[in-house]
Symmetry: C2
Subunit: 548 residues, 2 copies
């Protein structure tokens, strides 16, 4: 058997090494357009910033090491320019010599990846991108004489770049078309990330487009200019499907190569994996582009299993992702509220602001978590978390719960490892389960930060059950302050009508709502309390805009 693999990073190389372990006799050729295979793609921003000091650290394998260990025929600087599916051949251009040649295959695996989107702006030819080792070499070279940089796009890579450019003490501007950073987060969850960037000297231009790039500056859509010795495009990536399309492979609705759950394309004997293909989304069941390393590696192994005749099928993808930025951690899995609203899908949202570990043990850090729940099935639709230590842990636990079909209420039953430096006896994930269970069983009603204005306009009364000091520190306009511990005695003071109750994070308000409802006073909890409302207010509220 002769297997040809196009693309020698992540998915492609996982396929190659796994296939060798399964089939010592197969002939395996890997063509890689670039000069490097199996490099640490996700480490590139950190090498740019000097966190990873040694460039060799990025180069996890070489053609030689892969040849010695796995008897792989790895050919770098070799671009596959055409596929003949009928003849089962590929045409390869040797980028050193320019000479083309033809190689046959029994099975072909495309791991062509995704390439950064570069908008056709005036001056865009000077913009860099960050996809491979050559890219980071260029960036490092330009940074040497630069004092300022513009990063276009405030997604995962854009934010990692901003942090690392600041590490190099550049003046950094991030330009983002959306009104928020980190699109996978809902706007109120993204606020702490934007704050952290600004606190660390990053100039954030949200809701802004780049108009043009000049020699040492860049012009924003309003006409202002920002210093821009270096410009890096990090708007997003687009599946590299040119080769697939030339060969007649069907693309999916999202523009990636369409594959079945065994990574087969529409053309016999051609498989595809990684950023170039469309995955199946775990929440919607629809096609999704998820350009992440974990699924790429998983698919690489899976396609080798399939080619070797082993039963294996891809699972639907939750797109779990995490980013660190100036010590803050932001992570997400599944769908966010914006997307659920846009798809008109019913959901319940839960916001909490728990501590990373027991409050009585030093060093506990507050995080914010948001859980999205299917009101019909109690299934988990998605989760987001932002904060310090333990954010990645909680999202991993929730992503695992999603994979295992654990319902939102059942999060209460998870037995998570507890000692005071690692969590709480009621872990933040358990607390989400408790709240989900309260909502599921209708023992409490909650309203969202972006629903508050309309409800108040309809005559609801806002009751703030925090202490007088907390209330004075940050009241919501129109709220009446009755501290929780005085509520039993003072309930008579509250005017007749629907009540919305808030506290700092939602916990005291929950006790208050329970009390009020039993005293015959209809009441709902302002989900996530003052903290979520305040973040939402500062977020410029695009969730509400999206609703109309």
């Amino acid at each position: 058997m002769k297997v040809v693999i196009v693309g020698g990073v992540a998915g492609g190389m996982s396929a190659a090494t796994r296939l060798r372990r399964l089939d010592e006799l197969a002939e395996i050729i890997v063509f890689e357009r670039g000069a490097h295979v199996s490099f640490a793609n996700c480490g590139l921003p950190y090498y740019a910033g000097g966190v990873i000091e040694d460039r060799d650290e990025l180069l996890l394998q070489t053609p030689e090491s892969l040849g010695a260990r796995f008897r792989l025929d790895v050919r770098v600087r070799s671009q596959v320019v055409a596929i003949d599916p009928g003849a089962r051949t590929v045409t390869v251009e040797d980028l050193e010599t320019g000479d083309p040649y033809v190689e046959s295959y029994d099975e072909l695996i495309l791991s062509t990846g995704a390439s950064p989107v570069v908008p056709p702006l005036p001056g865009a030819d000077r913009a860099l991108t960050l996809r491979d080792v050559e890219d980071v070499d260029r960036l490092v070279a330009e940074m040497a004489s630069a004092r300022s940089a513009v990063v276009v796009g405030a997604g995962f890579i854009g934010i990692e770049l901003a942090e690392n450019l600041r590490r190099r003490e550049l003046d950094v501007t991030v330009v983002e078309l959306a009104d928020q950073v980190l699109a996978p987060l809902d706007p109120e969850m993204a606020v702490p990330v934007a704050d952290r960037l600004r606190e660390n000297g990053v100039r954030l231009e949200l809701g802004t487009e780049l108009a043009r790039i000049d020699e040492t500056t860049a012009e924003l859509d309003g006409g202002r200019t920002v210093p821009a010795d270096v410009v890096v495009m990090a708007i997003g990536v687009r599946p590299e499907t040119a080769l697939a399309e030339m060969a007649g492979l069907v693309s999916g609705e999202r523009g990636g190569i369409a594959v079945d759950d065994q990574m087969r394309t529409s053309v016999p004997h051609i498989f595809a994996v990684g950023d170039a293909v469309e995955k199946r989304d775990v929440v919607g069941g629809n096609a999704a582009l998820i350009p992440l390393a974990n699924p790429a590696n998983r698919q690489g192994r899976l396609v080798a299993d399939v080619i070797a005749g082993r039963p294996a099928r891809a699972k639907a993808s939750s797109g779990t992702a995490v980013v660190g930025v100036f010590g803050l951690i932001a992570a997400a899995a599944g769908w966010n509220e914006k997307r659920l609203r846009a798809a008109d899908r019913p959901y319940r949202a839960i916001h909490t602001h728990p501590h990373s570990h027991a409050g009585y043990y030093p060093g506990a850090q507050q995080m914010s978590i948001k859980l999205l729940v299917d009101p019909e099935t109690d299934g988990i639709l998605g989760a987001q978390a932002v904060g310090g230590e333990g954010v990645d842990k909680r999202i991993d636990v929730i992503a695992t719960a999603m994979a295992g079909g654990v319902t939102a209420s059942e999060l209460a039953d998870l037995e998570l490892a507890y000692a005071p430096q690692f969590g709480s006896a009621k872990d933040p994930v358990n607390m989400l389960g408790y709240i989900a269970d309260n909502l599921r069983t209708d023992s409490i009603r909650a309203v969202q930060w972006h629903e508050l204005d309309a409800l108040l306009a309809d005559g609801a009364l806002l009751v703030d059950v925090r202490t007088a000091d907390e209330f004075a520190d940050g009241p919501i306009p129109g709220a009446v302050n009755v501290p929780l511990d005085e509520l039993r005695e003072r309930v008579g003071e509250l005017p007749v009508g629907d009540l919305i109750v808030l506290c700092q994070v939602g916990q005291r308000a929950h006790a208050a709502v329970c009390l009020l409802e039993q005293l015959g006073r209809p009441a709902a909890n302002l989900d996530g309390g003052y903290q979520t409302w305040d973040a939402g207010r500062r977020a410029n509220a695009p969730i509400v805009v999206a609703r109309s």
Copy 2:
């Protein structure tokens, strides 16, 4: 409705506050024998060590605060000494006045906890235990004039105590009857914990009993004495069932109060929760004592739901637990290998030694993980992990997978949040899944460290595929060194017969086994490689002893 709760910590107080939220009109009385309710039990060792500086941090609630917020009638220093289930009354002794009185109930909840076991040694009356705030006050008082301490028992609390006594610069000896520390771990997994304790000046006396306690020393079973200004018993806890037994409640096979999955005891209108009751074990389905805070809190809430007429049932328990010791983290969930062997239950064991995050990003720390798998169902029976950052995360993910019925092989499909500072594109948990899948599909065979001697005696040949330098650093007696990258060429050098292949952690050996098997040479991987074997060797191998 009048509900009486015996015990005002964890389970009892969770029940009380939840019940109030569900039923504003209920009369709720909480009797607590000690002077404090809702204190931070798990924080006691850290207050002793000065990590938690302020004693008030331990006191999460007071009777007054609970009265104000939840209208609870909390009576401390009040010991319930008898129950009359027919009359539905309890007899309470006011420990301040000595006066007994009777209180009626409609529903009674016992949250009596568990008490430290103190063996009847000569001199044991001077030994301290650590269960409540009074205990830690005594310990702190004694430490003030002490220069040495003996901790009896190397379980979670014993180890936390040892660390914290060292923080106070005491000379610390830990005496443990078993041949290893931390019984929830298998012996080879406990070795790094013992190492860490010794590296930090703790004298470990394993396989040793305390014979007697004298004025400033303690005598070990061999006759040696160790300095012992302070002696703390941390052998384990025993459910406090005296009250329950007097009232005629049925105890279970493990000596805890028997309850159904709605926390009902054998006597109508009496419920029990927390350390005093027997839980159902998630692996064996049998009764288990799991004296941990997370289940206690969960049960407290659950019993309130049941009393309030809401459907709720306890899930089986995996006993997930974690401990930190001098910067090392050890965590476990489900069953360990010792227990599986003792129960004659089939299993597969998998050992790995992955890094906490991508190796190319600075600061990655190696951890050890062990996964136990049901060979029939591929279900996860248990997991253990020891190392630095990220150990708690991986055990939480696996515990969640167990709760969700994710099989061992399906761990490969989990999408866990990856950026190089938080994990790897193939996370340690994914890698466990990959290995489990290899074993499940018989694409590889593995042998355990404690099986090696017998296999070598039967004529198997041990092939070490590490580099010559690694081999020279730590060879296993009898092994032949053929580095992996030379194996294809040198396979002819290997004598005929069964091969056992090892490398440092098991990954290169896997590639070697795949290669050898396909070349017609039967081969098995020494699971976990040299590192697991070396730990097992140093562990004094009680797993093998247990087998016979």
